[in-house]
Symmetry: C2
Subunit: 426 residues, 2 copies
């Protein structure tokens, strides 16, 4: 089949009539290379089909949620069974307690669990809990890190007032000196420190957490009697079967999870230590669908797969194979790429590409050959991926590299560069 | 079957180990009369079964979402079909555009739609949009009204800092003088006015919106070039097939919907006029599951039922029958009750019941006889309810009234009164 996007373009035109900007949020293709499809008809296993019928090996995994493969049978069964019994009811199902017990048993620091919908629900609960904990106000956040789109953290500043961030103090990730300075600036008013499990910002190389830094954050929080919060919404359960900072042997007081925990069903979670229990018990937080039974059934099924399968090994095997193969392929075609962060969550950026002409063109071509990659956002490996998927991906990326090589000297700067530059400068 | 709650009590004990307070949020039974079940096994049509197997006619309707009857076949089919194709993917399905077109065509003031998860997502988007609209900051909110549990509005003040509400100014609902004073206090800095469709606060009588007041709010917003926002999350589509203020012929600039629009599936919506489009287009808001296809398919099926069935007539018929029957029944047993607000969303409070001993005891007994009612929160009628359901409800409430009458002089004040009084005073 020849790739085409006739239907997608038509639907985008209709969308522009009735949806602001035609689409909004992280799944908008506004910042993606031209021709990226906006609307999808089907998803199964490692594959995604757009509404023109084009098939992709999908490395975005719904921007994270697809951990075990789309429509994973064990999870689908749990959804359908629970749906027949009840979903959104006047109270939760018994699965809520079972899920809390399960996650508390899996995540080392956790003594209790709360469930919500958005990742941002979880991070906002954690932030308010830090303030409720000792009545202090300042929240220390790593500069450039994303903790959701609520007013205290959205990267878009339209409609945001200074008071929304009056008590947010920024520091540089992986830099204990910077953190210490921020804490000193806050004086005796530090309520909590937000720690991203590792540095995973858009348009940037990723970096692993430094173990000394993580231990330093823990020590500082203990000294200040402030809560240490790990926002594991994006990375949770892709690096280890618990909180990501267990990999550096540091326990937070609260960790936020979301994305993968129901393998695509809408559920997020706050997992905390007893130290933080009274704080959350004193708060009022809720949502119309936070106690729905179906997403909890899906989460129970997903957590069973997390515990009982070798999914983690598969993520590492496939992620490593993809990384080494792409490195070799890039060299073969005379390009140098940087693949950063954990192999389960690849970020791929081109060297010598100040105006993004290589990265954007490469992703556009790979997409048209059947591999859906992002030129600016970290990607995700899912447990359904096989060596055959990687081989097929390399055909697509190989075709993209070949075109890039052939047109290297005549490529135009990325048309969206102006927007990008403004974004990067802000 | 004899009512019992052995399993529920056991599960509540387990819950207390791993969930803060054993449960949190609006579906916690902490404020309900003793013995109310916390966990539910099944929901279908008008009925709810707790985990001990007790069956209830459920007047809470999941605190709103159940509009067409639990597990309504037309909606269930749409869910299962879409689930087989795809749910949370790397972009939305085509149903998102169809749903936006549908809702824009149904809701008079709407030119565009955005979808999210929590009702509170929708109200927060509206609030930020009002500030983005002209760069002004003050938001006028009716005292005591609920617009979600984000820091700018949660009724629980633990962990909330003064800056969270630095630009929120309160006025009294249905009182134009109070609103005008609040606007004067804000000077030339009024960004938007939040209007609840009618007054529906917990522990209080409800009141309908006064049409003159609604027109006055519209006029004020026009004079100040501020956005008029109707938070229709709780009442939307139960009073009319559009925004509730269409019933008084006043159009907002933005209306927030949630709860019912997917008949229980997790989806909320912001519906706005073109006047507010640029404001939302300038913002960055998103959530991991906002673009999932299944809740949109459920919403399309629900909106079809809204358009094509006489559900609204059924809500009014049943709600009216329940109200007149309960009034008669109360008199018959020598009690006087106040049933306020629209019949589709009843609030029932006892006269001469300062310590809630009648209301709490009456609900507890009705529950044990199979009618699930709330003594403090407005209830909801759903379109699956029949005259037979009302007759069965009246058996339960009759038994409750008889007991109340027999024990009238020896009833103890409601044990939770201390908590209630603190809550009401705060």
């Amino acid at each position: 089949m020849v790739w085409s996007n006739t239907r997608d373009k038509q639907l985008q035109e209709r969308a522009h009539q009735v949806i602001p900007n035609g689409m909004y949020g992280h799944e908008s293709v506004a910042m993606m290379p031209d021709d990226f499809p906006q609307f999808f008809a089907k998803a199964e296993g490692t594959r995604l089909w757009d509404i023109d019928g084009n098939e992709y090996i999908d490395y975005m995994c719904a921007y994270g949620p697809n951990l075990m493969g789309y429509a994973r049978p064990e999870v689908q069964s749990a959804i359908v069974e629970q749906l027949a019994r009840g979903d959104t009811m006047t109270g939760p199902g018994p699965g809520m307690v079972e899920l809390a017990e399960t996650m508390v048993s899996m995540v080392r620091h956790a003594d209790w669990a709360m469930f919500c919908k958005n990742g941002g629900d979880a991070t906002s609960i954690a932030m308010v809990a830090a303030r409720a904990y000792r009545g202090k106000k300042k929240i220390l956040v790593a500069r450039g890190s994303y903790h959701g789109s609520a007013p205290w953290n959205t990267p878009g500043m339209s409609g945001i007032v200074p008071e929304d961030r009056a008590h947010i103090i920024y520091f540089d990730y992986n830099d204990l000196d910077s953190l210490t300075k921020a804490a000193k600036f806050a004086g005796d008013d530090v309520a909590g420190v937000f720690a991203t499990p590792f540095k995973h910002e858009t348009f940037s190389d990723q970096s692993h957490v430094d173990a000394d830094y993580a231990r330093g954050v823990r020590k500082l929080c203990d000294e200040l009697d402030a809560l240490l919060i790990v926002d594991d919404v994006r990375a949770g359960f892709r690096l280890t079967r618990g909180c990501t900072w267990e990999t550096v042997d540091v326990d937070p007081d609260i960790a936020c999870f979301g994305k993968v925990i129901g393998n695509g069903q809408p559920i997020s979670a706050v997992l905390g230590a007893n130290k933080a229990r009274k704080a959350v018990e004193s708060m009022f937080v809720t949502g119309s669908f936070w106690f729905s039974a179906v997403p909890m059934a899906a989460a129970l099924a997903t957590m069973k797969l997390v515990r009982e399968t070798d999914y983690l090994k598969q993520l590492v095997t496939i992620g490593t194979l993809l990384r080494t193969s792409l490195d070799a392929q890039a060299s073969q075609y005379g390009f140098s790429i940087r693949q950063t962060g954990p192999v389960q969550m690849p970020q791929i950026l081109f060297d010598d590409d100040p105006d993004w002409r290589f990265g954007y063109r490469w992703c556009q071509l790979a997409m048209k050959h059947g591999a859906y990659l992002s030129p600016y956002h970290n990607m995700f490996i899912n447990a359904a991926m096989t060596e055959a998927d990687v081989a097929k991906t390399l055909e697509a990326t190989g075709a993209a590299f070949a075109d890039l090589q052939a047109n290297r000297t005549t490529l135009e700067p990325q048309a969206k560069l102006g927007v990008l530059k403004r974004l990067l400068a802000s």
